[in-house]
């Protein structure tokens, strides 16, 4: 399956799962909102040009926004993490050219600790902006911090489960041979 087709299917699947499964879960607490959809952006290939990365993420966030009637909210957060994604990868990836040998960020291509840090940083930025925008219209500082921490925890758990359940085989490709 080509990368393009795979990502088109993922685009639709992540939106549908977020809207019709995770958003339908009865809320445990007002701070706990299960977000998983932005994992799509985390999984996009290394080789994608940065302009396309931004644009696809914007479109992806906007699609979710139309399902949730919040135009611009998730789009803003997705564009932000798409912009900082290349910097984070450059910081964390090993310098022997993993980003040339593997197609996309994963535990196999980056190693467990760097990949975990990569997920954590982007999750914090994504939720940070999302909850900050919500906090501006209503809520207190306790709301901001509490929701940021709780939601990040739940998201990390969900991502961890997704990575275990849907293990991505990352073929090692090299052009030295």
């Amino acid at each position: 399956m080509s990368d393009l087709l795979k990502n088109i299917i993922r685009f639709a699947l992540f939106i549908l799962v977020q809207v019709f499964v995770l958003n339908q879960v009865p809320p445990l607490h007002r701070f706990v909102v299960p977000y998983l959809y932005y994992l799509f952006i985390l999984w996009l290939p290394f080789t994608l040009p940065r302009v396309w990365l931004s644009f696809i993420s914007f479109l992806f966030g906007l699609t979710l926004d139309y399902f949730m009637n919040t135009p611009g909210l998730h789009a803003a957060a997705c564009t932000l993490i798409a912009y900082i994604r290349p910097f984070t990868i450059n910081l964390l990836i090993s310098q022997d050219g993993s980003d040339k040998n593997y197609p996309s960020p994963s535990v196999t291509s980056m190693g467990f600790a760097p990949y975990g840090t990569y997920v954590l940083i982007l999750t914090l930025f994504h939720h940070g902006l999302l909850i900050f925008l919500e906090w501006m219209s209503f809520g207190s500082f306790l709301f901001f911090i509490g929701k940021l921490l709780a939601t990040t925890g739940v998201s990390l758990l969900l991502i961890f489960l997704t990575e275990l359940l849907f293990f991505r085989k990352e073929p090692f490709r090299t052009n030295t041979a």
Binding site: L16, F20, N23, Q24, V25, P26, P27, R30, V33, R50, V51, S54, F55, F58, G61, L62, D65, Y66, F67, M68, N69, T70, P71, G72, L73, A75, A76, T79, L80, A82, Y83, L133, E134, S137, F138, G139
Partner: protein
């Protein structure tokens, strides 16, 4: 000029990011104007259709609860039938002044339209419902929405076949209410804490308020017919410094499994709104 182009080329990624970010923030903060103008109809149709597909399955699992709600509603309405009541013997009959035609004739102020709920959420701070009924079926923004057991929300945007309801569980929603017994007016909002409870405010402490009291929509509300149940008092929050009650209400509507609603149209809404706005304009002059 050349330097400008070089600058743009050098920082194209950053500028592109800024543009997208600004577009999304404009969309967010100018929600109503922009949303109405640009995408409401196309996007509403698209997401509505997918919501409807999902609801076809979900509805099956909620049939039992829906049925119970409808039976309860029928029971309540049957209790109100004229035939159930015996009129006392009356010697003094009322006579209507026949010269004034209109005093006998009643005008229907609120019209009801039924609608199927195809999409709903309770887990965010700004929750919305999607109804399978839109502008082609006489729905327009600023109509009230009530369910079988109580109020639900208000219509905020419509496409041809679908409409979006701001539910009572939305931080931007307020409704004017009254106490069932004494008629003191206050307002109801949602504090975002739990989808089961909303907050009642601005009822003076001179009025009696007890746990379990019913709170109804007020006659001054332009969206909802008067006397529709909003919720019942669950707990009164003590605040000795204020002259007003703050109370937590259990919502009459169960937002988890609502499947059918009635959209209420106030036939005099435009007239009332225009009159009230004209007063405001005069005061500002």
């Amino acid at each position: 000029m050349r330097n400008v182009f070089l600058f743009i080329r050098r920082y194209f990624n950053f500028l592109f990011f800024l543009t997208l970010e600004i577009i999304s923030l404009i969309m967010l903060f100018r929600y109503n104007k922009f949303h109405e103008a640009a995408f409401a109809s196309v996007a509403g149709e698209f997401t509505g259709r997918i919501d409807q597909k999902y609801n076809n399955i979900e509805y099956y699992f909620k049939l039992k609860g829906t049925n119970e709600d409808l039976v309860k509603e029928n029971l309540r309405l049957r209790q109100l039938l004229k035939e159930n009541y015996e009129s006392p013997v009356q010697r003094n009959h009322l006579f209507y002044d026949t010269i004034l035609d209109d005093s006998v004739k009643k005008i229907q102020r609120f019209l009801y339209l039924e609608a199927k709920v195809v999409g709903s959420a309770v887990s965010t701070q700004t929750n919305y419902l999607t109804l399978h009924r839109g502008s082609n079926q006489q729905i327009h923004p600023n109509m009230g929405v009530v369910g079988p057991s109580g109020i639900v929300g208000r219509i905020i945007s419509v496409s041809q076949n679908f409409s979006v309801v701001m539910s009572m569980l939305n931080r931007h929603f307020t409704v004017i209410v009254k106490l069932k017994n004494t008629g003191e007016r206050g307002k109801v909002e949602w504090d975002g804490v739990s989808p089961d409870y909303v907050l009642l405010k601005d009822i003076p402490k001179s009025a009696p308020l007890n746990k379990g009291d019913s709170i109804l929509t007020s006659e001054t509300s332009t969206l909802f017919p008067p006397g529709v149940l909003v919720g019942t008092v669950h707990e009164i929050i003590e605040d000795p410094s204020s002259g007003f009650y703050t109370a937590r209400l259990k919502t009459a509507t169960n937002f988890y499994n609502i499947q059918y609603v009635y959209v209420t149209e106030n036939t005099q809404y435009d007239e009332q709104k225009a009159l009230e706005d004209s007063v405001k304009k005069k005061l500002n002059e």
